[in-house]
Amino acid sequence: MVTLKEVAKEEYILSGNASCAGCSATLSIRLAVKALGMKTIFVVPACCTSVIQGVFPLTSLNIPVLNIPFASAGAAASGVVSGLRAQGTEDITVVAWAGDGGTVDIGIQALSGAAERGTNFIYVCYDNEAYGNTGMQRSGATPLGAWTTTTPAGKKEPKKNMPLIMAAHKIPYIATLSPSYPTDFIEKFQKAKATKGTKYLHILVPCPPGWRTDPEMSVELGRLAVQTGVWALFEIDNSVFSLSVPSKPLLEKSRRKPVQSYLEKQGRFRHLTEQAMSQIQLGVDEDWEYYRKINQTKICP
C-alpha cells in the first residue's frame, strides 16, 4: 500500500497551466506523473490536455509530450513505442493520455488496434463524460440523463462501458480510477507501469464547467461517484475482475449512498425528475448485481 507520504515531491505539471479552476484532469496528470516518474512520454490527442499544457512557446508539463490529432492517440503511441524499441530504449513509459471523446468515440479504432497488437504502453482515458474542450457536447461516455449542449433534454442512452470493451481485448491490466482516491490511483499507475503489454486506465474526472458544479466540489464529487456506486473502482488483472478497496464494501447495497446525492449536486442533472433518478438508481443497482457475479472471477475468457 502506498501512503501519501511516499508520493514523489517533484511536480511535473507546473503552476500557471491553463486548466479551469477545479479541473480534476489536471489533478490526475499531477498524480499520474508522480506515480510514473520523469522517464515518461505523453502522447496527447485533441482534448483538454492540449489546452492545459498552455500556449507555445510555453508548456506546463515537465515531461516530453507529443501532441497528435484527435483519432490517433493509440496509433501514435504505438509509433513512439516502436521507435524507442528500435533505439534499444526499454526504460521509458509511453502513455497515451486522451479524453473520453478521443477514447470511446473517435479514437476507439486506433486504441483497439494498439491493444490487439499488444503494444507496450499505458492508455489513459480521463473521462469528464462529454466533449469538454468544445464546450460540452455529448460523447459515448456521457451517462444516461445528463444534459449536454447536444442533449438539451438529457441523454437517452447509457454510458458506453469502455473498460469491459478493453477486457474483451484480453490485455494484461485494466483499472478504473478516481483522483479523489489518490493512493488507489497511484498504486494502479505503478502497477500499470510494472506490467508489460497494453494497460488501460479509465479515470472519472469531475469537470466544474461541464457538470455545472462549483470548482471546490470536484474532489467531493469524485468521492460521491464512488460512494454511490455510479463509478466503481476495480481492476481487471489478467482478465480477473476484482473490486478495489474503496468500492468493495459497496457490494452490500446498504453501504451505497443513493445516487440522488451525487446527481442533485450537479447542474447537468438538474432537470431530472424523481422518476428519472430512480431509473438511474436502478441502472446502478443492476451494474452492482453484475459486479457481484464477476468479482474475483475471470471475465472474457
Binding site: Q53, P57, G79, S82, A86, Q109, A110
Partner: protein
Amino acid sequence: MTRTLLDTGNHVAGFGAQAARAEVVAAYPITPQTGIVEIIAELANSGRMRAEYVCVESEHSAMAASIGASASGVRTFTATSSHGLAYMHEMLHWASAARLPIVMAVVNRAIGPPWNILPDLNDSLSQRDTGWLQFYCASHQEIFDTIIQAYKICENSKVLLPAMVCFEGFILSHTNMPFTIPDQEDLDSFLPRYKPGWKLDVNNPMSHSTLSSSDYYMELRYLIQEAMGNAKESIPAVDKEYADKFGLPYHGGLLEEVACDDAETVIVTMGTIGSEAKLAVRKLRDKGHRVGLARIRTFRPFPIEEVREICGRAAAMAVIDRAISFGMEGQLFTEVQSALCDLKKKPLAMDFVAGIGGRDVTEADVEAMVMHAKKCAEAGQVDQRVTWYGLRR
C-alpha cells in the same frame, strides 16, 4: 557488392526502405501497394532488415504511428495508395508541420467510386497542399534511387519535411524491370544514420506540436515554405551526387529534360507517361520534328524556373495530365501555366487529360497529342484548351 536484380516496382520500394535502413515501418495493405508491405514484413521477419514493423489497423493509424516513430528519433518508412492516402490526409498535414522527415511510397491508383484499382495521379495530386515533397518516378531504378535520395534531402536540417515517392500502380508496381542496388557500405556512406535535430527526450522535455497563437503560426508556416525552397536547391545536387557516386543515371533533379534545347514543341508530363514520351520524342526527332520532353520529377517543390526556361523557348507545349481537377483542368497544366504566366513570350499551351483510371497511354498516343499541339501552333491557335484524349461518348 553492387547487385543488378529483376523484380517488381513494389519490391524495389521495399528494397529501397531496407537499403535506407529504415528503423520503423508502419503500414496498412491496399492494392496495388501490398507488395511493399509484404516484402518489408518478410525482410524484417527474417532479420535481413533491422526494423520494427507495425501492422497498424488503418492508414490513418499508419501515418499516426509513423509520426510517433519519427518523433522518437528514428528513420521511418511507410507506403500506401489511393483511398489509403486519402484516409491519411489529416495526418499528412501533421507530419509535415511537425517537421518529420518520413518517406512514403505512394503507388498511384484511381479513387472511387466506381472502384478502380488501376493508376492515375488524382490520389497524390489531391494531397498537393499537405507540405510533403512529391517525387514522381518513371522506372524501377528511379524508385529505388529516389527513396534513398529522399531521406538525404528530407533529413537535411534545412528541409526537415516528409516526402512521397510516387509511382503508378501496376504499370510499375506489378511489372518486372532490371535495377541496380549499389553496395550497402557505399549506400551507408551516402546516407548515414539519421541524427534527428529534435526528438521526444526525457532528458530534455518539451511539448511538441502544442497549441500556438497567430503570433507564431504564420511564421511556422513560412518556415515550411522556406524549407521547400531549400529542398529545391538540394534535390538536383543530391541526385547528381548519387549518380556520380554509384555510376547510375542522373534522373534530372527536379525535372528530366530530353532534347529540349532546340525544341519547338515541348511535352510536359509526369510518371510513366514520361517514359512513353521519351520514345515518342526519339521517333519524332527521327522524322525531323523538333520535339522535346520535360518530365517533371518533383511536383512539390515545383520547378518553376526550369519550366520557364524550357517552355519559354518553345512555340508550343503539350501538357499530359493523368489526373483532373474537376471544374478546372489537369493539375500539372495549371502549375505549368502558372509558372509561365508572366513570360513575355509564351508557348501555345494545350492540356491533354489522358490515362485516367488506368487507361493505357502509349508512345503512339503521346505522338498523336504532340503532333496535334504542333498543328495548332502552326495554325496559330488552340482548338481546345483541355482535351480529354481518347474520350468515348
